[in-house]
């Protein structure tokens, strides 16, 4: 495809590295039609309510990448205070803290870390954050339940 033929060297290198030495618990592979579009899977981190789940995400590198951040979104439903029902993620490095020296790998590692450490003080999904702060035990249970229902076996 035309879009793929003039792919910047950086994207090609990043893709090669992602495929040859994937980060633990993370896989990202480019779509065949569009090398800027990645299918991503993140394993729920151990000792988190998402443990045992496999979460699908989509990641897209806009034309301006790496000067502009990639666009990332959860496709699997997830109960998390920083992720809304459309799968959008509240993460500073995806917005104003983006730096061109960051990479797909660092972004995905940050998202994985966000699963281990939800931050209800800077929430995207109001109701979930409220739940998290008023009754964390119960919220964690819901997150586990959602993980079981939506993120396993599929």
């Amino acid at each position: 495809m035309a879009t793929n033929s003039n792919l910047p060297r950086r994207i090609i290198k990043e893709t090669q590295r992602l495929l040859s030495e994937p980060a633990p618990g993370i896989s990202a592979s480019p779509s065949e039609e569009n090398m800027r579009y990645f299918n991503v899977m993140i394993l729920g981190p151990a000792q988190s309510p998402y443990e045992g789940g496999v979460f699908k995400l989509e990641l897209f590198l806009p034309e301006e990448y790496p000067m502009a951040p990639p666009k990332v979104r959860f496709l699997t439903k997830i109960y998390h205070p920083n992720i809304d029902k459309l799968g959008r993620i509240c993460l500073d490095i995806l917005k104003d803290k983006w730096s061109p020296a960051l990479q797909i790998r660092t972004v995905l590692l940050s998202i994985q870390a966000l699963l281990s450490a939800p931050n209800p003080d800077d929430p995207l999904s109001e109701n979930i954050a409220k739940h998290w702060k008023s009754n964390e035990v119960e919220a964690v249970e819901t997150a586990k339940e959602w993980t079981r229902v939506y993120a396993t076996g599929a």
Binding site: M67, K95, P100, A101, P123, E126, K133
Partner: protein, 618 residues
Amino acid sequence: MDSEDEMSMHDANDAESLDDDFYSGDGADSDEADITMDYEFIDNDSDDSDDFPSHHRSQLNYTVLGEADILQRQEEYITQVSMVLSISRIAASILLRHYNWCVSRVNDEWFADEEKVRRVVGLLEYPVPLPDAKEVTCGICFEMYPCDMMRSAACGHPFCVTCWQGYMSSSINDGPGCLMLRCPDPSCCAAVGQDMINALALREDKDKYKRYFLRSFIEDNRKTKWCPAPGCEFAVDFIVGSGSYDVNCRCSYSFCWNCTEEAHRPVDCGTVAKWILKNSAESENMNWILANSKPCPKCKRPIEKNQGCMHITCTPPCKYEFCWLCLGAWSDHGERTGGFYACNRYEAAKQEGVYDEAEKRREMAKNSLERYTHYYERWATNQSSRQKALADLSQMQAVHLEKLSDIQSQPESQLKFIIEAWLQIVECRRVLKWTYAYGFYLPEHEQAKRQFFEYLQGEAESGLERLHQCAEKELQGYLNAEGPSKDFNEFRTKLAGLTSVTRNYFENLVRALENGLSDVDSHGACSRAASSKSLGGGSSKARGTRGKAAASKSSSSRMDDSGHWSSSLLWKNLVSDRPAGAVMKLADTVKTMLDVGLPVGHILGQMRTEGRWKDATR
């Protein structure tokens, strides 16, 4: 419609409280005041070229700055800081920008804790050289390059020239935040200065950066603002806390330095903001903005929230972090307040009945629509009348004055009184216009104040009508004449007299409104005779101080005029010698006539000018 009053109230309050915070931030800029003094010659220049009737002409509390002046000042500040702190000019400019171009603040912070300042601003004391290798990998494009193709900030993180260029370009095109550019390495905060921009960025990006750098000097400095007139490139440096906010830019636009709306003395900024919002509330744009955005609680720029969380960070240079729901500072949210989502201010506000209040206000707004229309029409008419007068004034200066000088065989220098009359008309239309906004917000239950205000406004208005008519219609006769008119000198006396009388009426009105009509208060309000007396008393006192200025001014500016009366004498004959009862009778007549729908301004003007005024001038 409903939220607009709340919104404006809230804005006005906030603006004040924020300003307070802002100004109380640092008090030590006496040294900057000195710098301002050095530029006084600019005042004089502008004063000569724009001969506007300014109320505070003798003591200008502001300086108009052109681009060259701004650059020169910027250079001086940078030189000063770089010399005092023994740092490079680039480092000095980074520091100055960070501390909003306040030299004393830079000095204070630096000498209090240099290490901390260096860390915050990103100035490394010991630059790190590029890695000592033949080839290095660029941290952005991942290509290997020989060392001489690589550049780094003082931190030594190497990136290739092309990637630097792209990095700078995307930052510069994102807005003025590029002035705070840091090394692209996410773990590093080393500042990237203008020297690197100049060495590496594309030409058009360099130009944009330069522009932002210049703008920053005006926009981040709390003592300076751009003139808001479209296309005007001047800025105004204002001595904060020095009285009237009205400033005349060198482009001839006059505006309020505090709120940057058109000059609106004697009406205060809050009233003006409310009024302007009210007027534009009907427009599509404003509706959209009100419905879809909230103003940043700090810098007031409207923010549209199109996605993301409640934690909003305003765009640089403001960068204020706040909660979208309650507009409170984000730092107040979290565990201590029971979490953002509780936003207990909302609950508290509801309990206090703030929302019921809003409901009531909404109801009242509906009822006052007719009242509003009354004031709006008069406001708008004076606005268009002023526009027309401005056009007439320039026509007069460009064409008619020369023609008149030919016909009447008068040197143009002898015709200055006509220009002065027109300038006075323009200024009075502006004041009069704003008094209608004032009148709209004057509480209805304050009967005595309302009456006093309407009396003063009526006096001023009819005086202005008379003056405007004389300058417009009667002058036409002399313009159309075949040759010199015998009575031209009389016309001169009349027009100059009307100009002066009208100026006095308006000064009286402005003063009374600026005092919040306090003359009424101090006399226990309700008695009519008392309130009219206080008019006489109050104005004669003020006249005492102002009379001197007026007299000396008129003697200098009217050396060549035949009139030798002083304006304060005229005024005395007009108002203060009239028994107090008579003044109020006049007001009563006006009121009756208004009730029956008769035009008053004209008749009132007639009575005044043809009765007492003639006596005074002959």
